[in-house]
Symmetry: C2
Subunit: 382 residues, 2 copies
C-alpha cells in the first residue's frame, strides 16, 4: 500500500480557530468562561452533513492530522498515512476534523495562553482537564461546524479514550467509534510511568511551580527525561532489540558517560526534540487526563454499565506487542460493549511496533481501517 | 517457612575493612593504585577453608547481607531472609562473605572517597567500573581472607552477573555458581531505562558534572526520578495491579498534582528514601556496569564460547513475572552452559513479584536454594 505519494495527500492545509464564549464547567470544578480551539478540516462536508469524521489526538499530537502547511512540505500531519484521498480514511468521501484539545500547546487555549483574570499566562493555574472535558468542548466545535452527528470518531491511545467517551457522553452524535490501542483505564504501572514523567518536570528548578513563562525559562531537563521514559513505553521490547539491540554508537566502548549504545543516542534525540517544542504544563495535564480516565469509576467499576448508554458501532483494534495498552485491555472494552449488545468489530494486529503501531503504516491494520470506512461510506450512499 | 525468628538470624554483625595496595588495572584502562573494600562475614571458615560462600550485591545493596548492627535491630542485611542459621544458606555450615563493591557508596573506595592525587573526593574522576573489575577485586579480598576456592558464589540480578563472571575469570576458584534473576547482557530496553535514570541525575543542576561534594550539595531530584523509574522495572505489572491498582490516596479525586493514586505515593516514597542515602556517582557507575556486562562480546556474540572456561556447577533461577530479566534471558545462559556440558540446575519460579522476587521470601524459591546448598554441604562432608 503506497500511501505516501503526493496525489494521496490532502495537500496544503491551514489551521482555523474557533472562539467559544459560553462558559464550560470542567470536571475538576473549574469554569472556563471562554476559550479557543484550533482545528483543521480535510475534504468537504456533504449536503446532509453526514460524512464528518472527528480525529482525536493523543499525547504529543494536535490538530495537524494530515497534509502539510504551505511552504513546509516536511511538516506533515501526524496521521497523514491514514487520512487523505484514497487513504483508509478517504477525504474524497469524508470530511475530517482534527482539533487541538483544550489545555494543549498548539494554539488552543492552554497553560501558555493569557489568563483573562490576570493578564498573564495561566501557567500552573490552568485547570486540570479530562477526557470528558475534551469531549464536551469538541462537541461545541461540532456545533460550531454544524455537525450534529459524526459518521465516525476515531483515535489511538488517549485519542481512542476520547472516541470511546463520545459514545457515552453524546450517544446520538456518533455512529461509529474507532477505539485503537486503548485501555478502559490506566494500570498502576501506566500511572507509575506518568508519575515519573511528572516528577521529572515538577522537580526541574526551571519549572518554577508551573509559572516558568514569567521567568523566561522552560523546564527542558524535566521534559526531556519525561519524554525519554514515555518513549520507552511506546516501543516494544522486541522492536527495540531489532532496531537497536546492543549496537554501539561509535563502534567501540569508551567507558565513559557519553552515549555508548545507539539506543541511548536515539532516546536522547527524542527527548531533546520533544523538549524543544512541547509545553511542560500541557504535558502534565495530558498525563493527568490519562490517569483520570476511568468510565467505570462512577459505576462501581462496572465497565459494561458505564458503556450502557453507547449506541455507536465500534471498531476496536489492539496490537500484539503493545505492552502499554495490551490487547487484554482492549478485550475488556470489547467485552463490555458486547455485554450491551452493540456491534463490535475487534482485531488484534500482529505487529512488532508496540504501542506506537497505531501511528504506523502497517498493511493489515490500514486495510482493516479502510474496509471499515468503506462500510461507513456505503451507509452514507444508502 | 519462618525465617524471621531471632534464633535464625546471624545476630549482631560488624563490618570489616581490607586495604589493598597492589594496583589494579580496570577494564576502562584506569589503574587504581590502592583501594579499600568493606565486607562482612557470617559463620566460620572451616579448617580446610572449603565452606566459603561469596554473596555479590546488585544495584542498591552492599556488604550488609545478613544480621543487624549493634543497637540497630531494624538495620538488617538485604538478604537476611536467605542467610543465617537454618536458613537456605545455613551459616552454621557455611562461611558467608558480603562485600561492598569498588565504586560503591557504603564504605568501599568509591566516588565519595578522597582521590589521593588531589586530596579531594574523586567525584566524576572516579573510573567507570565493570563486573569484571568487581570480580577481580573480590578475588583479592578472597586472597586476603585466605580463601582459594569458594564453595559457592551467588547473587541476584547484577549480583548474578558477578557470580557468572567469576566462573569465567577464575574457573578454579568457584565450585558452584548461583545465577538468580540474571541476563547474559542488557537488552536495548534495559539500557534505555538505565539511560533515563542517568540523564535524570546528570541534568540535575545539583550534579555539578559529578563534583557535587565540593558544592556541598547532592543531585537528589535526579536520584529520586532515577529510583522511581528503576523501581517500576523491579515490580511486575500484575503485582503493581494487585498491590495498588487504581486505589486512591485520599479516597476521592482531587484533580490536582498532589498524589491521587496510592502508586504515586509509593513511588515518591521509594524515590525519596533512596535519594537520601545513595550516592549519585555510584548509581551512575552501577548502571554502567550493567550496560557493559556482555561476556559474549569478545567472542563474536557467542555466549557458549564466552562461558567455555567455566568449570563450576550452576543453579540458574528465573521468575515468571520478571520482565526486566525474563526467564527467556536466563534460558540463554542455561543453553550456553549446557553447550559446554556443565552441570546446570534450572528453575523458573512461578512468582508474582517481578524482578524483585529474588529478594523476597518465596517458599518454593527458598526451598530450592536450601536444597541446592544441602548438596553443596554434603560435598563438604564427603
Amino acid at each position: 500500500m503506497d500511501t505516501g505519494s503526493a496525489s494521496q495527500s490532502v495537500g496544503v492545509v491551514t489551521p482555523q480557530r474557533a472562539r467559544f464564549t459560553e462558559p464550560v464547567k470542567l470536571k475538576c470544578g473549574a469554569v472556563m468562561d471562554e476559550y479557543e480551539l484550533v482545528y483543521e478540516t480535510y475534504g468537504r462536508l456533504n449536503e446532509d452533513r453526514s460524512n464528518a469524521v472527528l480525529v482525536c489526538h493523543a499525547l504529543n499530537a494536535a490538530h495537524h492530522v494530515a497534509g502539510h502547511y504551505a511552504g513546509e512540505p516536511e511538516n506533515t500531519g501526524w496521521w497523514d498515512n491514514m487520512i487523505g484521498p484514497g487513504k483508509p480514511v478517504d477525504t474524497s468521501r469524508f470530511f475530517v476534523v482534527g482539533v487541538n484539545n483544550l489545555g494543549g500547546c498548539h494554539g488552543s487555549t492552554g497553560p501558555k495562553s493569557l489568563n483573562p483574570a490576570t493578564g498573564r499566562p495561566w501557567g500552573a493555574d490552568f485547570p486540570v482537564v479530562t477526557v470528558e472535558d475534551w469531549v464536551a468542548t469538541q462537541a461545541r466545535l461540532a456545533d460550531h461546524l454544524g455537525i450534529s452527528e459524526f459518521a465516525a470518531i476515531m483515535g489511538g491511545s488517549l485519542g481512542a479514550m476520547q472516541a470511546l467517551q463520545w459514545t457515552v457522553s453524546h450517544p446520538r452524535r456518533v455512529r461509529h467509534s474507532l477505539v485503537i490501542a486503548c485501555a478502559p483505564n490506566l494500570s498502576a504501572q501506566n500511572i507509575a510511568f506518568n508519575e515519573v514523567a511528572r516528577q521529572a518536570i515538577i522537580t526541574d528548578p526551571d519549572f518554577h511551580g508551573g509559572h516558568y513563562y514569567e521567568h523566561n525559562t522552560r523546564p527542558t531537563r524535566g521534559l526531556r527525561v519525561a519524554r525519554m521514559v514515555g518513549h520507552i513505553t511506546y516501543l516494544s521490547d522486541d522492536e527495540m532489540a531489532a532496531k537497536f539491540g546492543r549496537q554501539l554508537k561509535n563502534g567501540a566502548l569508551n567507558y565513559n558517560f557519553d552515549t555508548e549504545f545507539q539506543i541511548e543516542s536515539y532516546l536522547r534525540h527524542q527527548g531533546n526534540k520533544f523538549a524543544e517544542y512541547f509545553d511542560a504544563n500541557t504535558y502534565l495535564r495530558i498525563t493527568k487526563a490519562l490517569d483520570y480516565f476511568d468510565p467505570a469509576l462512577e459505576h462501581g467499576g462496572n465497565l459494561a454499565k458505564a458503556l450502557s448508554r453507547a449506541r455507536a458501532n465500534f471498531l476496536v483494534v489492539s496490537f500484539t506487542t503493545d505492552w502499554r495498552f495490551s490487547p487484554e485491555r482492549s478485550r475488556e472494552i470489547v467485552k463490555a460493549l458486547l455485554h450491551n449488545r452493540l456491534n463490535v468489530t475487534y482485531a488484534e494486529i500482529d505487529a512488532p511496533h508496540g504501542h506506537d503501531a497505531f501511528l504506523l503504516e502497517d498493511a493489515r491494520y490500514h486495510r482493516l481501517v479502510a474496509a471499515y470506512f468503506d462500510r461507513i461510506g456505503s451507509e452514507l450512499n444508502a
